[in-house]
């Protein structure tokens, strides 16, 4: 009955206004990104004149050629890919392993372990004591500084633990009767049935790894170990764009690209992988976020 009822004038106005409001939000969200994209694809010298709002005026791939021709950027990109892949696999596996053990109600000492973790959610050592620890562990100027200090997260553990507790006990018991030990139950049963939540954690950590520039900035001086975001930070925030121009100096590219156009192209290159990945993972993370934040 309700579905067949005609909309009142008020309803029509409400729906219209709401749709306009949503379109405005979409425009405000997308336009700044679009603006960077069209300027990255525009001739650098020409872009300096301004006035490029909707479409590239002098379309070119030259800025991207310059980005890919620079050995510094490519090395930084490679470090970022490596730290993201290694970091995600290690973090998800390690955190899930601990979460599986703590999700078992019969675990001796389980309550103490969880209390220990809960404290870390609300209180930490802060920047300086952490820096001193990293130094004492000889992780300065070391690739593993990107992986080991973020191997585990108690917040992610809560999300995983909540999910693991929902797994029917019969599944584990059947395996135990077949002679499986806790390791094989974890690896062969718990992990495979938990793909949605593992994907959520992987996405969260992957985004963190991909976007983190601070670790590379404070713990790494060696340029061949710095990730792309740290590289970009040094260029964007410290406006030392000359660093980027060195790569293209003397080549034919100098005629068309500018430090600004390379900067925009680098921003695009830095962001594209993540923009491509997230539509594939998004159906998982709404579920994952619910589990973690409401019940936890």
């Amino acid at each position: 009955m309700f579905a067949l009822k005609r909309k009142t004038t008020g309803e029509v106005i409400f729906d219209l206004a709401n749709n306009v409001f949503m379109l405005c939000i979409c425009f405000i969200t997308l336009y700044p990104i679009w603006y960077v994209l069209i300027n990255a694809f525009n001739d650098g010298k020409d872009a300096m004149l301004g006035g490029i709002y909707w479409w590239p005026r002098m379309f070119t791939f030259k800025n991207f050629e310059a980005v890919f021709a620079s050995p510094g950027i490519m090395q930084a990109m490679w470090i970022t890919v490596a730290k993201t892949l290694v970091g995600v696999v290690a973090h998800v596996f390690f955190t899930a392993m601990v979460a599986y053990a703590l999700s078992r109600k019969d675990l001796v000492g389980g309550k103490i372990y969880i209390l220990m973790g809960t404290v870390t959610l609300f209180f930490g050592g802060g920047l300086i004591p952490t820096y001193l620890l990293i130094r004492d562990l000889h992780l300065l100027e070391n690739f593993w500084v990107y992986i080991i200090p973020v191997l585990f997260s108690f917040f992610d553990l809560i999300i995983l633990m909540t999910f693991f507790r929902e797994i029917p006990e019969g599944l584990e018991e059947a395996a135990r009767i077949d002679g499986a030990n806790d390791w094989s139950i974890f690896l062969r049963i718990v992990l495979p049935v938990s793909m949605p939540v593992l994907a959520t954690i992987a996405l969260f950590h992957g985004v963190y790894q991909w976007n983190d520039y601070f670790t590379g900035m404070i713990y790494i001086n060696n340029e061949s170990l710095q990730p792309i975001q740290t590289y970009l930070y040094r260029v964007v925030a410290q406006s030392s764009s000359s660093q980027m121009m060195v790569a293209v100096q003397g080549s034919a590219l100098t005629k068309t690209v500018t430090s600004q156009s390379i900067k925009l192209a680098t921003m695009v290159v830095t962001t594209l992988p993540i923009v491509f990945v997230y539509p594939f993972l998004q159906r998982y993370f709404v579920k994952g976020m619910m589990i973690g934040s409401i019940k936890g």
């Binding site: 969200t29 930490g124 050592g125 802060g126 300086i128 985004v207």
Partner: protein, 309 residues
């Protein structure tokens, strides 16, 4: 068997039976001990005169000297003003907006259209602050699009270099933060709204409630506990004022409105090497944040029976 009656033996047997599980758990505990608890122990350098050459235990105690110095520091007032100012505005504007957005997005009838808007709205969450810093630097430059538009509209008659002027810094920080996180923060509320029973809406319709009334009297009360929990978390993180963002957008010209506690810790500690002083400022912040968390938790418990612990 006699030994099984002894509780200590029984406990030991259980642990042996759980040796695989215990290994898994203890690996995590060892990690937490090293990376969370050793830095907590390291906080004691805030009460010592720590020297980079010596170990923490060798450093002489100095009591509250560093805390007193911070309170008397010329930068204290400014740093606190920026930290609290930015944080509180973010809390009072940035916290309700995603709820409002979620409420209105929920009223969109077409599921496909709704999904599309949602997917677009959280895209910026996936961009790094470094990339966003680059976008903002481009937009806000004296030859940037913001100046172009404002000059074309005759709002201003001379280009402004926004990032070089302290008076614009807070606006930039808060607006860009909302832009980045609006859609992402709304996900959780949308999920909570999806869990509201449709019968409540039907009942409200029969009672003659309009769209706004349904939002106000049905949807909002139904997601109250979600809002409370997220508010407690937001309050406890309020002093974190998003270090990544500040670091990218600050410069020496806007320092008077961009220097927040987190940056000051970084500056005095890692840039100037005053480890003990810097650790004291960091601890000062942690303690205030912890007190705020406890207050928010208690208030929420009293008002609507929802709390974290």
């Amino acid at each position: 068997m006699k030994s099984s009656l002894n509780p200590r033996h029984r406990l030991w047997r259980r642990i042996v039976a759980q040796r695989h599980l215990q290994t898994m758990a203890l690996l995590g505990v060892v990690w937490m001990f090293i990376f969370n608890y050793i830095p907590m122990y390291g906080i004691i350098i805030a009460f010592k005169e720590f020297n980079i050459i010596k170990s923490i235990s060798e450093a002489p105690w100095v009591g509250l000297t560093h805390f007193k110095e911070f309170l008397a520091d010329d930068n204290f007032g400014n740093v606190m003003k920026n930290t609290l100012g930015i944080s509180l505005i973010k809390l009072f504007i940035g916290f309700p907006l995603p709820i409002i957005f979620a409420l209105f997005l929920n009223e969109i009838r077409s599921i496909k259209y709704k999904k599309a808007i949602q997917t677009i709205s959280y895209l910026p969450h996936f961009l790094s602050w470094v990339v966003l810093g680059g976008i903002l630097a481009t937009w806000l430059a004296d030859v940037g699009i913001v100046n172009h538009v404002l000059m074309a509209l005759n709002v201003i008659d001379q280009p402004i270099t926004y990032l070089a002027e302290p008076k614009h810094f807070w606006t930039i920080i808060i607006t860009s933060d909302i832009w980045k996180e609006l859609g992402w923060s709304a996900i959780i509320y949308l999920a909570a709204i999806a869990g509201v029973s449709p019968e409540m809406y039907e009942a409200a319709t029969i009672d003659g409630a309009g769209r706004f009334q349904k939002m106000w009297f049905v949807t909002l009360p139904s997601i109250k506990s979600t809002i409370s929990i997220l508010f407690i978390l937001a309050v406890s993180g309020v002093l974190n004022s998003n270090f990544d963002q500040i670091l990218v957008l600050r410069n020496s010209l806007n320092d008077s409105s961009s220097n927040v506690i987190d940056y000051y810790v970084y500056q005095t500690g890692l840039l100037s090497g005053r480890y003990s002083y810097s650790a004291a400022i960091g601890l000062f912040k942690s303690v205030i944040a912890l007190i705020l968390l406890l207050i928010a938790n208690q208030v929420s418990k009293k008002i609507n029976d929802t709390s974290l612990f």
